[in-house]
């Protein structure tokens, strides 16, 4: 795994702060953080995001593995140098 796309809820302050924190950490796997509202229309992730619950955090690796909810949270920590 080289890259991990992380979709967060832009309407929630806590989620935005978490995304900001993730972006600051030293990463082993590169994290690409996107507000899910903005990624809704993307051809690659749009369908996946529309089907997911609105409050569910979603992470997708560059090889197509999808992690939802708690798993998404864990995989983000696993991607960080200090928290693996």
């Amino acid at each position: 795994m080289r890259k991990l796309y992380v979709f967060y809820d832009n309407g929630c302050g806590f989620c935005r702060r978490c995304a900001w924190w993730l972006a600051q950490q030293p990463q082993i796997v590169r994290l690409i953080l996107r507000p899910r509202q903005a990624a809704m229309g993307s051809p690659r992730f749009g369908r996946l995001l529309e089907q997911a619950a609105a409050d569910e955090m979603i992470a997708v690796s560059d090889t197509g593995e999808v992690y939802r909810g708690t798993n998404a949270y864990l995989i983000c920590l696993w991607a960080l140098r200090r928290h693996r």
Binding site: R2, K3, Y5, F45, V66, N71
Partner: protein, 135 residues
Amino acid sequence: MQNYLVTGYVLYLAISIVLTIWVARTLHHNGRIFLLEAFDHDEKLTDSVNHLLVVGFYLINIGYVTLALRYGEKPLSVSEVIEMLSSKVGRVLVVLGVMHFFNLYVFNRMRRNVTERNERPPIEPDDHLVLEGGA
């Protein structure tokens, strides 16, 4: 006494160069497997880097030995020849050692990065997405 000086120099060069060759060969031989890990088991790249490292090693070390030849006190007796040899050869050994540990440090870092990158996540994915043309 010119004789002591010349004998000392010749012995110094001989010992240092033999030591350099021995260390270089040992590193070349035993370092390969370590480099292989650092370069993600790319044999061609490993052999190339290994060879280049040995060349660099010879250049730095023989360069140092040559430059350091004239410094220090000139020996006037057999015991002073031995003293000169020990301090000069000792310095060469320390330089070799420092270079060696620096190399180990750098390659170990590279190896760690590769190992980390190839590690599999501890949790199974919930789903799979077919990404056209790669993500």
